[in-house]
Structure formats: structure tokens, C-alpha cells
Amino acid sequence: MLVFRGSPKSNRRSIRCVDEKRRDEEEEQHSHNKKFHIRSLPKGETRILDAPRIVNDFYMNIMDWGKNNVLAVALGSELYLWDSKTLKVEKLFQDVENDLPTSLAWSNDAKLLAVGYMSSKLQLWDHETSKLVRSLDYHTDRISTVAWNGHILTSGSQDKSIINHDVRVANKLVSRLEVHKEEVCGLKWSEGGKMLASGGNENLIHIWESSKMISSQFLHRFKDHCAAVKALAWCPYQSELLASGGGTNDGTIKLWNTQNGTCIKSIETYAQICGLEWNRHHKELLSGHGFGYGGLGNQLCLWRYPSLTKVGDLKRHASRILHLSQSPDGLTVVSAGADETLRFWDLFGPPRADHTKLSDLDGLLSLKTSLIR
């Protein structure tokens, strides 16, 4: 007769209460995670490797970390491989003619290593067999940068041209782009391989579409930089967003929307930018610096995206940083300096966990939603 149910109003109230509490708890969790992102940078590097005879030249790109966890670095005329898992060092080759490797890049599957030289020759080395697979001689001057897009190998040279090679077939030149007025310092393919960004010593950036490259017609030309553009990096979480960094005279990091061809943001760093790396785990961008004004050189700077406010900087290199690369798992960054060291930094972690889900323990311990009153 007496239905033990409590009045509908009071029932509703209590449920709303619980909902509110749950919502508050979620917000707290969310803000807690946000606080977690006000990160404390590590005080220093986790590892330092000796790099004797590394060439102190901005216009080279002699370090690359492949998906096979092997870091390739050219020291003088010798090429060394360092396995980050086994910590073993292997000498791949020493050039017989004492020619200097000036650029290198692992293929996307890390089976091949492309090496460009001061003498303009381009070689492909097989990592498994440690043998020279192919030699490509299309350039007439130093090859300053190489980049892979699947089976296409793109090389940029001091002879101002960009050449696309198809490595599946011997001596297959797909296209030659002669648009830059000076040495091509930087080359980066976008994540999907649809667009190529090229930076030149004449301070220009060209954006190319892979489908339209044969006609030598670029999609965009960016003129905003005042110095050589070597540092280029495509954003992993926003396709068509490109970050570029200028040389000593420029010192700015610029974000570009390559769809519209506009510059979204530009910040001053007052130092030569030799490399840019996006943090795939948190929305951040890391820049490596060479010569700088007011003591702002020789350091790594971490910037929050999209505000590009500085999170922090690490000044441990004794002289300018020349190259920047990141591990395949995206947690470690390596910087090569003119002080003949390779320094490893665990900057980009911790790997991002799904923070919308409460862990079981947290659910149990949360006082607000305890079931037992």
C-alpha cells in the first residue's frame, strides 16, 4: 500500500546531486591532467655520445634516426650507426675517396639509408647487408638534404635543384625541380606524402604537391623569412600545417597553413634555428638553435602549440646545435652539436594516456561517488 519509493522530487534531486558530483569529478580529473601538462622539463640530457670529427656546417643534414631504432650519423668521412635498443655502435663505411657525407636519411621502412655527398654523388645503402646498393649521380654539386616518400627519394643540392628518384628502378629520375635560386637546405615530405616543403638559402620556402611535381609548378612560395630555411616540420596532429625556422639573421619560427598559403603565426627566438621537431604526445614544438644573440643560442627551446609560448629551454651544449632528430617512439630527442657531442633528451614524454577514462583505482578511491554512505 505504502509504496516505499520516496517522493519523485527528492529522488530527482539526489540523482542530480550525483550527476553534479560526477561532473565535478570529471572536470577535476581533466584539470588535473592539464596541470600535468604544465610540465617540468628534465634538468639535463639522459645520455651524451662522443661525436669526434663531426663537421661543423649548418648546410648539412648528417644525422637521422630510423624506424629501426638505429641512429645514423656521419663523422667526417665515416658513417656510424648506433642502435638505441642494443646500444651497439657499428661503422657502416668509410668513403674510399675521403668524400664527405653531407646528408643522410633512412627510408620510411628503414631498410635503406640514402647518403648524399660533398662531391654530388648519392648512394643507397642496405642496412641488413651493410652493402652499397645503388649510386645515383644526377646532381652537379653538394647534396645538402635528402627525404623519402615511400619509394621516391628526393634530394636537394647546392646546384639549386631538387630531384625525385624512383628507387625501385635503376636510374629512374622522376622529376627535376629547378626553382630555388640558391642551395636547397631543407626538404620535408608531409606525413601522408602528399606535399613536399623545400627551404632554400635564398630564404624562400616552396610547397609542392606530389601529383603536380612533373610540371615544376609549386603550390606556394613563402617569402617571409630573412635567412636560410633549413628547419621544416609538418605537424602530426594538424595536416597541412607546416612549421619553419629561419637562420641567424631571421631567428623566427613560423607556422603556415599550406592549404591557404598563409602564415598563421610567427615568433622570435633571436637565434639560428637548425631543426624543428613536433612532440607527438603533447601539443608542443621543439626548436634547436645555433648562433644566437644575447646568449640565446646553443640551446633547445620547447614551445606550446598553438600559442607558441615557451615551456622551457635546455642550455647544455657548449657550442651551436647543428642537427635535431627524434626517436621512432617519439619520446626521445637527439641533438648534435658543434661541441662534438650527441645529446639525448627524454623531452617529449610521458606518452599520452586516455585521460577521459577514470582508472579503476581512482574510481574506487573517489570519495565523492562512494556507494557506501
Binding site: L49, D50, P52, V73, G76, S77, E202, F291, D339, T341
Partner: protein, 264 residues
């Protein structure tokens, strides 16, 4: 702008330098890259052209930051070409204002590495521990070294009783020390307790004055003040000890007895 040769650290107007550089650079962009760079090419590619100096405004100081080093294997071809040979090598030379003077890296070492010359260099050898140790030692030396440097000239000042012609290192340091040394010279001799008691107060006052100056002046001065305080304490203690010895007490008693006897 010519670099000043005194060792004063002046605040660098970074933004100003940049706008100046950027406005200058437009003239350089139009220049054709000089063919002299082919000096760097491998022998088959060599062309016979001479280097023509281009606008030097952009290139700044010709001192390459480690660029003149010869590497062990091949020949460092960059070192053969003068930096003024072409604007195409812009990024290889630091601009004036970007290099740090007195960084100490080049002192007695012509290598760019921080490792000592006796250390065996192996490609990609893990040198974490030794590099950290070297950096730690260097940081310690820097701290203690700056204190010592500060100490010696001002100690001289003390000995000479703060003659204004004493050679100080820097303007602001000199200003800070002379009033202090002048005070010290008058108050130290003779060391009556009352006047010595005032000296610490005066020292504190001067220390507070100098907090307005740049921070690297403060530490060596503080160190100096601390050491002088220590000396003062020790001297006073010695005097007290002398007064407290049995012979001194006996002598004093004798004196008092004699005066009383004369008054009889």
C-alpha cells in the same frame, strides 16, 4: 657597430639588432652567389674563378665558431675559404653579437670538444659521466674563481689605505669598495671595542647599498666582507685571550695595588 673592448657587460638590444640586420640584408639577397665557393668542390669539379668580396655587412666577424678546425679524416675545405667570399655561406659564420666573449672554451684548447685532450675519442662512445664531471668542475671553478679575482685587487686597496689611484677591475666595484676601505682604515687602528662595534654596522650598510648593482659584484664583495669579519673576530679574540692570561691578570693586580698604596 664596433664591439667595445672593455669587459663591461652591456644589455643587448636584441630586437634592435635584428631589425637592423634585416633591413641590411635586402641588398645582399640580390647578389649572385659567388662562384668562389667551387673552391670547396671536389677536384674534378674545380673551376677557376677568384673570390670577390661581397657586402661584408651581413657577415660580421670573420671568426668562425669552430669553423677553422681541421678534421682528422678529410681536409676541412671550409677553412680554406675566407668567410667574406660569398653570401651563400651566411649560416656558417656567427654574426657579431652572437658569439660570447671569454667563454673560455678556446682558452688553451683549439678543439671544439669539452673533453680533455688525453681522453681517447671513439665514435659514439658514451661519455655522459665524464662530460658531466667536467661541467661540474668547471662550474665550481667559475664560482670560486670569480671570488678570488675580486679578492686580490681589493685586498691591495686595504693595504694601501684606499688610495683612490688603486687599480680596480670595474667602475661599479671601485665605487663600492672605496668608501668601505676608507672607513676600515680609520676604524681599525686602534681597535677600541666601541669603534670596532660600529664597523660591522657600516659594512652592512655598504652591503645594502651594493645590492642595487649587478649580482656578480655582490658575491665576491660579500665574500670579502665575510673574510674581513672573520679576521676581525680572530684579532679581537686574541686580544681578549691576552688580557685573560694569569700573567696579565697578575700585572693588572700589581698595578691596582700600587695605586692604592700611593693613596695611603
Amino acid at each position: 657597430m664596433p664591439e667595445s673592448r672593455d669587459r663591461l657587460s652591456r644589455p643587448v638590444d636584441v630586437a634592435g639588432i635584428f631589425t637592423q640586420r634585416r633591413s641590411n640584408s635586402f641588398g645582399v639577397l640580390v647578389d649572385e652567389p659567388v662562384v668562389a665557393r667551387t673552391l670547396i668542390g671536389s677536384p674534378p669539379m674545380l673551376q677557376t674563378t677568384t673570390a670577390t668580396p661581397t657586402t661584408a655587412a651581413v657577415l660580421g666577424t670573420p671568426v668562425g665558431f669552430g669553423a677553422a678546425r681541421e678534421d682528422g679524416g678529410g681536409v676541412r675545405r671550409e677553412s680554406l675559404v675566407s668567410p667574406r667570399a660569398g653570401t651563400w655561406r651566411r649560416e656558417s659564420t656567427p654574426m657579431s653579437g652572437t658569439t660570447r666573449r671569454g667563454w673560455g672554451r678556446g682558452r688553451g684548447r683549439n678543439r671544439t670538444t669539452q673533453l680533455p685532450s688525453w681522453y681517447p675519442r671513439t665514435p659514439l662512445r658514451d661519455v655522459t659521466a665524464i662530460t658531466r664531471a667536467i661541467e661540474r668542475r668547471r662550474a665550481l671553478l667559475r664560482e670560486s674563481g670569480s671570488g678570488l679575482e675580486m679578492g686580490s685587487p681589493t685586498a691591495q686597496d686595504l693595504g694601501v689605505f684606499a688610495s683612490p689611484s688603486a687599480a680596480p677591475l670595474e667602475q661599479n666595484r671601485y665605487d663600492a669598495t672605496t668608501p668601505y676601505t676608507a672607513v676600515r682604515s680609520t676604524k681599525l687602528f686602534p681597535p677600541s671595542v666601541s669603534s670596532v662595534g660600529k664597523v660591522p654596522k657600516i659594512l652592512r650598510g655598504i652591503a645594502n647599498q651594493t645590492t642595487g648593482d649587478d649580482s656578480d659584484c655582490l658575491t665576491p664583495q660579500k665574500k670579502l666582507l665575510n673574510s674581513i669579519d672573520k679576521v676581525e673576530k680572530v684579532v679581537m679574540e686574541e686580544l681578549q685571550k691576552l688580557r685573560r692570561t694569569p700573567t696579565a691578570k697578575r700585572a693588572e693586580r700589581e698595578k691596582r695595588v700600587r695605586t692604592l698604596m700611593t693613596m695611603r
